[in-house]
């Protein structure tokens, strides 16, 4: 089916002509998450800058569902002309390993630009009796399968982060998946689950005391939460975060991909935008497209490792 579509597309579209004057019409950015989420916020921040450079209308389309699969599938099966762009977090990578039977392969997409890398943070319910990561780890080791950690969905970064941590320290915990980070965080606040490897977007809830932050899986402490130690400080070599990236359908002409790369790079480095990324704790180091592809490949290897350990079960 897909092959037929591709062939049809090839008939109608002459790729050489496209690359020269990209973009010559409206561009759609697909965000496979709800409006108001982190990824969506980033995209809407970038949108006016991109619009300025390209002089074309840019539509942001939120397409949540099945992790981030629905939106990713949409972009993968769109005409490979660069007019449909995917901006997504981690799910697109982990689904590749977790859902091998889904009608979508990561290789149907071409990674173009990496906006940055977040870091996950262990947050616990406000009335949780322990505060230190060593203490919690020790307790979890003694009580296998009793620590209840929520996640925003199977294969989302909080899930993968929890599995990686559990693998590093050798504990078994109980994974409780939700649909989206808002409901999972709500249950942490209400004390129905013990905690969650949340993204740093929960900083404001930590400040208001609705949840407490235990440790952060970053190289350094978070600028907004200087009191929260890193896992490394506690002797756990665990650094992990979601990857915000820009992808297009794989057969998109390289010239078009280069233009998309350049446009996003320019937009992301507008001082105001860059500053937002930094205050959000995003590691927005400049990376080339090749480096981004390499990082994606490394992630896949790490995930395969978790599968081999039996911590992740592909469906």
């Amino acid at each position: 089916m897909k092959a037929i579509f591709a062939a049809l597309a090839a008939c109608f579209v002459s790729s050489a002509a496209l690359a020269e004057d990209f973009p010559s019409r409206q561009v759609t950015i697909v965000v496979p998450y709800s409006a108001g989420g982190v990824t969506d916020t980033y995209v809407r921040k970038l949108q006016p800058e991109l619009q300025k450079r390209w002089g074309q209308t840019i539509i942001v389309e939120n397409k949540p569902g099945s992790g981030s699969l629905l939106g990713a599938m949409d972009v993968a099966s769109a005409d490979p002309d660069g007019y449909t762009i995917l901006v997504t977090a981690y799910g697109v990578i982990s689904n590749e390993v977790l859902m091998p039977e889904a009608p979508f392969e990561l290789s149907d997409l071409s990674p173009v630009y990496m906006l940055g890398r977040g870091s996950n943070m262990l947050i616990m319910r406000p009335d949780y009796p322990m505060d230190g990561i060593e203490e919690i780890t020790a307790w979890a080791k003694e009580h296998p399968g009793e620590l209840k950690l929520a996640s925003s969905g199977v294969g989302a970064s909080p899930h993968i982060a929890a599995e990686l941590w559990a693998s590093k320290v050798g504990v078994d915990y109980l994974h409780i998946p939700y649909q989206g980070s808002a409901p999972s965080r709500l249950d942490v606040m209400a004390g129905r689950v013990d905690g969650m490897m949340d993204g740093v977007s929960s900083v404001s809830y930590v400040r208001s005391g609705d949840i407490k932050a235990i440790a952060i899986a970053a190289e350094e402490r978070h600028p907004s939460l200087p009191d929260v130690p890193t896992f490394r400080e506690a002797g756990i070599d665990f650094v992990f975060g979601t990857i915000f990236g820009v992808y297009v359908a794989k057969d998109t002409p390289q010239a078009v991909q280069d233009e998309i790369y350049a446009a996003f790079d320019e937009a992301a480095n507008v001082p105001e935008v860059h500053e937002m990324f930094v205050t959000q704790g995003l590691d927005a180091t400049h990376r080339t497209q090749a480096e981004f592809k390499e990082i994606v490949a490394q992630e896949l290897v790490q995930l395969e490792g978790l599968v081999e350990e039996g911590r992740l079960t592909p469906q």
């Binding site: 089916m1 965000v31 709800s34 409006a35 108001g36 969506d40 939120n62 949540p64 569902g65 099945s66 992790g67 699969l69 629905l70 689904n95 977790l98 859902m99 039977e101 889904a102 009608p103 209840k148 969905g153 199977v154 294969g155 109980l174 409780i176 998946p177 939700y178 649909q179 989206g180 808002a182 409901p183 709500l186 249950d187 606040m189 209400a190 129905r192 689950v193 079960t313 469906q315």
Partner: protein, 507 residues
């Protein structure tokens, strides 16, 4: 109280923005037209016009959908009164005394008083919505998976026992709806279920194709014959003929107040809605007033239920917007639309998107005001619209349905899905099943599963967790009581409200 007032002001500001005002007008106007035309109910109206909202801002889109929603209810009573055919199923009650009034030459008054009663009911409903939503959203932390599950069970049981002809048939519809809702990938594991290798089913059955097929297509099939039999309206209405007498005004106040209270309650209760509220109000008025007048054109039989109906339309938004639980099939569609527009309904909406919530609520009020002002001079237009014979209209209605599905999904496979679901919907109707519980089950099914599984995981497999909190106990207790009541009714052989049973297709 203060914060409600300031929020209301902020909402009013949003609602009065020119674009929102325009979409509000468009919504109530189109809604009224579609409501007037027999064969198109709220669900079909929303599904038809939903693709238009794709390209506009979420707030404007919601404002417009809301307008279509209560606009249809306003319009629905027009054809009830003039033709004795409910324009939308939820205005079936308006036939009982509205049509006799029209036969006595008081059609104008009936239409005028319906509009006034609708506005009154709508206003009361909006006030209830404003007062209770923040309270419920604030106690959202009390709602865990077990509580959500209990509330959903109550909603589904209520939808299948209170409204439809046979309780077993209603429950069967709910269960089939749940199963249909589970088609696609499992939220916990991604396992593809009941897809039988069909690409079109990987994302699940699409709600628009389902609503259009089960309500739209099967409604058209049924109406081709039945509307022809009903004949056409032949009334000319002047403004003078619309004014009620002083006695009629006096007789209407109390029914309107009682109706609004009844409507607000049943609207907010998941699973029930406008139709049940309007029947309850009718029954109440009949008990209070002189029963022999009813059915022969008693004004109380028009104004009470109309207020109830419209109050329920507004309060139905309480569980939908604050907890993300749709209380009626129409709300289920609106919930689906919210999600497609990228808004996750739930307690966080009030916190994160207060402009959206309050803007929407205040737009309801603006829209109701527009309806009041619009409908009085436009009654003549509706009368003329009803003179168009249905056999000239239904090919266009079908075209809208098919094009609506096509433009929503951009994929012709969904038209085939529509065809299958349309056939299924008509067969269900023929076998005496109600489609409304099916839609509700369809939307709540995946949520119920999520909460069911999570409750068990959190409790370590202990079913007692479903009954732990007071909220769950009340919900599940009421659900059990409803089932027992339903059992009593279905085996005591008592005939159930005939007309209600037939008409509960939408609500």
């Amino acid at each position: 109280m203060d914060s409600i007032l300031s929020n209301a002001l902020m909402g009013l500001e949003v609602a009065l923005m020119p674009t929102n005002l325009w979409f509000c007008f468009l919504g109530v106007f189109l809604g009224t037209i579609l409501g007037v035309i027999p064969g198109i109910g709220v669900l079909v109206a929303i599904s038809l016009l939903f693709p238009i909202t794709f390209h506009i801002e979420p707030v404007a889109a919601l404002v417009m959908l809301g307008g279509i929603y209560y606009g249809t209810t306003y319009g629905g009573s027009t054809s009830s009164i003039l033709l004795n055919v409910p324009g939308t199923p939820s205005s079936a009650v308006a036939c009982l005394d509205g049509y006799p009034m029209a036969q006595k030459g008081r059609a104008g008054t009936a239409l005028f008083m319906t509009t006034v009663a609708s506005f009154f009911g709508g206003t009361v409903g909006i006030i209830a919505l404003m007062g209770f939503s923040p309270m419920i959203a604030a106690s959202a932390l009390k709602f865990g998976s077990a509580e959500y599950f209990g509330l959903m069970v109550l909603g589904l049981v209520a939808a299948s026992t209170i409204a439809s002809g046979s309780m077993f048939k209603g429950i069967a519809m709910v269960l089939i709806g749940i199963l249909m809702g589970l088609v696609g990938s499992d939220v916990y594991t991604g396992t593809l279920r009941f897809t039988f290798g069909q690409m079109a089913l990987f994302e699940g059955i699409s709600i628009i194709a389902l609503a259009m097929g089960i309500f739209g297509v099967s409604e058209v099939i049924t109406s081709i014959r039945s509307v022809k039999r009903a004949g056409n309206a032949d009334h000319d209405i002047t403004f003078r003929a619309m004014l009620p007498t002083r006695a009629e005004m006096r007789a209407s106040w109390m029914p309107m107040i009682r109706g609004s209270a009844i409507g607000s309650f049943f609207g907010a209760l998941p699973g029930t809605g406008g139709l049940i509220a309007s029947y309850m109000s009718y029954a109440t008025e009949k008990r209070i007033g002189r029963a022999e007048e009813f059915g022969k054109g008693a004004i109380q039989g028009v104004t009470g239920p109309e207020s109830a109906n419209n109050a329920a339309d507004q309060t139905a938004f309480i569980p939908t917007l604050t907890l993300g639980i749709p209380g009626s099939p129409t709300m289920a569609i609106i919930l689906g639309v919210l999600i497609i527009h990228g808004i996750e309904p739930g307690p966080m909406v009030l916190v994160n998107q207060p402009d959206l919530f309050w803007g929407l609520v205040m737009s309801f009020w603006v829209g109701n005001l527009m309806l009041l002002v619009l409908n009085i001079p436009m009654v003549g237009l509706w009368v003329r619209l009803l003179k168009i014979p249905f056999h000239l209209m239904y090919p266009a209605i079908l075209m809208f349905i098919v094009m609506g599905v096509l433009t929503t999904y951009n994929n012709v496979i969904q038209v085939w899905v529509l065809l299958l679901l349309g056939a299924f919907g008509y067969v269900l109707r023929y076998l005496g099943f109600q489609a409304a519980p099916l839609i509700l089950g369809f939307v709540l099914g995946p949520m119920m599963e999520e909460h069911f599984r999570r409750t068990l995981m959190l409790s370590g497999g202990d079913f007692g967790a479903f009954f732990d909190s007071a909220i769950s106990q009340v919900c599940l207790g009421s659900a059990v009581a409803l089932v027992l009541y339903g059992l009593y009714v279905s085996f005591s052989g008592r005939a159930r409200r005939g007309k209600a049973g037939e008409a509960v297709n939408e609500g």
